[in-house]
Amino acid sequence: MKFVRQVFAITRKDLLIEWRTKENLSAMIVFALIVLVIFNFAFELQGADIRVLGAGVLWVAFTFSGILGLGRSFAAERDRGSLEGLLLSPADRGAIFLGKAISNFIFISAMEGVTLPLFAALNNVALPWFPLIPYIVLGTLGFAAIGTLLSAIAASTRMREVMLPILLFPVAVPLLMAVVKLTAGALQGSASSQIAWWFNLLLAYDVIFIVVAFWVFEYVVEE
């Protein structure tokens, strides 16, 4: 229970600060909307096109604006010196990782919650909420977990804004391939058996990277 209370304390603190400042989420949402609008004007996606290309458009918006939020996750802690306050406490490093990963997951999900309806409205498409939402949730989970770990690494470098995408995208390739395929499958109404391999890959990625990130976080944040 102590571990859970510490995780909750860190997530609650991040949400409270975001509620007061509205810095991260507003930037993420604006960026995602700009991406959607640009793609909408560039490709004039309609009908069948949106079912083929829509998944890629959505995940470009999700990942690029998600990186904005992930980048600030540990950079802000380092800038104000509060990361050392966290490390000075007897809280398990795993609790710090999970607390930050959960708040990142919530921020990215909130951005996606605004972006998805706008995507549907701009492209005049009826979204198949099930199974689309579970796929997006699973994709976001893995992205937030590995992004949180790499954000902690990038925050300790001098070129952290550049470092995070450089570190994150190569590692996230399997996840992005799987979730884009699954999202496309959902938009096209594919049978679940046709995309089962990608679903398994996404599940495996989530489990492996959440566990790995949880265990290695201690070595990443300690000098």
Binding site: F8, E84, G85, L87, L88, P90, E223
Partner: protein, 239 residues
Amino acid sequence: MSAALLAVENLGKQFGARWALRDLTFTVAAGEIVALVGPNGAGKTTLLRTLATLTRPHTGSVRLGGLALAEQPRAARAAIGFVGHQTFLYDDLTAAENLHFYARLYDLPDAEARVRAVAARVGIANRLEDVTRTLSRGLLQRLTLARLLLHEPTVLLLDEPYTGLDQTAADWLDQILVDAKRAGRAILFSTHDLERGLALCDRALLLRAGRIVHDLPRGAWQNLAGFMAIYARVLETNR
């Protein structure tokens, strides 16, 4: 004085090829205040950060009470209170929210009562609902000390705690440290304010180039001028 609460043995820390700390061995007893004195770059901050578990030593060992820092870091952290160059506070939270956050991280029972008690003790009870970014430097330092004392640590490590404090606030900090000494805590602090630091401490450790070059008991100096004479002589002979 009683048994050593903080025991440091052959502690060493390297940055690249340079030894920032080398073969440091000393103890701080319960109810003892020890000042770390030395020129810039002597290793005072590195030593305090190493003892606070913020950086790992390359050689040696540290024990807090019965706890080995390397083997039981989490239990040791619960016994350490550290004030560094930064406040470790969140500007966008109120003073109360900051203290409650740390109370949760330290898993303190009856956090509400503790927050109120420690806030009253450092004189910010009427400013608990203020957002931290609106607090003055002095009030911020009080809030930092409230965070330090919140979990009732047995070992207090303070790096230049007088920086930015006016005369009144510095007097008040002295009182906090004297109270902590009476409560049986071990206190190790660095300072460039020698007059104030020497008036407070029971011993002074002179550091130079990462080594303890002299361990001076309180009786070794009569006044600041006497201490400065010893300090200059010690630094000269260890050049």
